[in-house]
Symmetry: C3
Subunit: 272 residues, 3 copies
């Protein structure tokens, strides 16, 4: 079915990241994060996502992609902290490059990309959602945002640039400095989320929205998207190694490593 040999997963939920052709909209791929319990983004997840995006990008039978999660109430809680704890520069670089590459692919994809946010989407999880063209989130007791500063982490300038282009510079600054997490109601108000949907109607709402986007001719839409987004991507792609070094110099500080250690301990012993 796929011109470029994109493998349609037989047991999608068994892969960290799976992809399926939507049953109704045959030009739309549904990409799903399946790493219980929090879809935390390690190198493997990011590499799988990159491979999927590369395959879809080349396969012109696809015009759109919906990014979602198969984990109940969880879109994605962000980067796997273990990838940044007591790591050599080379190990960290492999991981960080995977994050950079996944972001550039999502953010500048020729496909219409819609995030079907089925639960909490924070830090790197929010980053993935922000990289899409459109964000629809389920109603419910979930949050979305970039609360990195709260646990002692910080964001790269390209994350701020993308974020500020979604909710404006002032709100983005407050949000990053204070590490704000938004309820779904707040998220719609400030514009992080474009629409909300009832849990049972999330995918239908996404497809309805996708239909609107697919009415626009591909050649003019893609040109327009890239004209707008490539200058933002360039904040990273102009010097990816510099970004990696900056981030490593930050996280390798003793105070940050200590904090990450505590976070890891808490994750492995959530009752404490």
């Amino acid at each position: 079915m796929s011109k470029t040999g994109l493998t349609v997963d037989m047991n999608p939920a068994q892969k960290l990241v799976s992809v399926e052709r939507d049953k109704d909209m045959r030009t739309v791929a549904v990409i799903s994060l399946n790493r219980s319990p929090t879809n935390s983004l390690n190198r493997k997840v990011l590499h799988d996502l990159i491979t999927i995006m590369d395959d879809l990008e080349q396969d012109y039978s696809y015009k759109g992609a919906i990014l979602t999660s198969s984990v109940q109430a969880v879109f994605c809680y962000g980067l796997d902290v273990a990838e940044m704890y007591q790591k050599s520069f080379d190990k960290f670089r492999d991981f960080w490059k995977a994050l950079q590459d996944a972001w550039v692919r999502l953010y500048t994809s020729r496909l219409v990309t819609i995030a079907a946010i089925n639960g909490t989407a924070v830090a790197g999880g929010c980053l993935l959602a922000l990289s899409c063209d459109y964000r629809i989130m389920v109603k419910g007791p979930y949050s979305i945002g970039l609360p990195d500063t709260v646990i002692g982490l910080t964001n790269s300038s390209w994350v701020f640039e993308m974020f500020a282009r979604v909710l404006g510079n002032r709100q983005a600054e407050l949000s990053l400095q204070l590490g704000l997490e938004y309820t779904i109601k707040e998220a719609v108000e400030v514009g992080i989320v474009d629409r909300e949907a009832h849990p049972k109607k999330l995918m239908d709402t996404c497809k309805e929205e996708m239909t609107r986007w697919l009415k626009i001719p591909d050649f003019s839409r893609v040109r327009t998207k890239r004209m707008i987004r490539e200058p933002v991507a360039l904040k990273l792609t102009g010097n990816p190694e510099g970004d990696t070094q900056n981030m490593y110099s930050y996280i390798s500080q003793e105070v940050v490593q200590e904090t990450l250690g505590k976070v890891l301990k808490k994750i492995s012993n959530p009752s404490k």
Copy 2:
């Protein structure tokens, strides 16, 4: 009357673009687009507009200009598609340069510029309105926006830059990718239009607003305007030839030419 010999048109409506000194506000010029039925912007219209702007810029008896249209219910429907259909690079360049030059003159004019939007203002028509300092639009069943992608066209980066500075990056991105057209109510909400006016009070409202602007000393206002707008204009003026080549390489694609051909056919046979 004019120090620099600006000709005041005797039969303004017979020219494609006319200019008159306002009867009440003697420092204000009223520029009118008169190309029925849609005020579509061809090379001649743009050259006339450039000449008028150049004359007004030099004539210090003028401090403001109101840009409007004499065509009922139509501000301007945008570029004349014929100028981009089956054209050599040289022909296209002449046209595109006229658009670029008209835009720079309007956008960075020392005059206070107010768009009196008397009807639909889409694509290049919206571009002209956006180039002014202030936009007032009549209430009515008209639309405003940059729906270029819908018919297979795309906007230059300088148009996006200007647009994003009016309604914010996120709304501008959605707007350009999806080719949105806004009703007057929506346009005021997102900020494309600053005020709405009853059809019979459009010019009075513009003059009332003009009065507010003309209270500010010219020397401080012009300096401030240019400090703000010249960095945006530089997105174009830094490499106008590159912009022309980019746009030509886009429109000369077979798929775009085919689309433009269909648009032209539809315009000449609107009943079909």
Copy 3:
């Protein structure tokens, strides 16, 4: 008390700018402008502010600063016009450099900075408030804004950049071109002011807000703040001398000097 020998003022109100350690929040400094009647910013005031900021920056017993005024109903009316009237380039440069230096220190300070705006904050007074992380203003018949064009002055591009990042490009452009002053209600709506407070609760509200900011680890918050703000500061710090020359070439115009002369006359004879 202070590790770096920061002098805590014994009679703070007798200094043009004073600093005290807050009685409740021992990591918070309260900086106060005390130059009656309008806290106009001359070279001396700016130098005092620079010295205080430099001392606080080095003294790690401080984590936050609240910037306010001891003058009833007045936060700050802006630059002392006398510093720009009939001055040689060298004299002007000393003054302008002090403004530039004070701004960079405030805008990129490692401290959490909150403006406790106890009254009117216009022109340079608004600039100081905008340089903080957060702005809280008393309810009352006061205004805030950058009305410089109204009296024939203009703002540097770095002021516009900072301003546009607070209230968006469009509102910032309207605001600077028209020299708008906002009531407290309007200021909250457009986002110049983050919160309003009853006059008797201004400092309490600031401390409550400060508490929220101080919960974020310093190392991640400061990194984030500087990642966001240093590119804005660079609009000035990349070429401060060019900024000074630009501004001098503007203010030394005869028409501007005349205007400043009239302003000075009016200030010294307010009854006329």
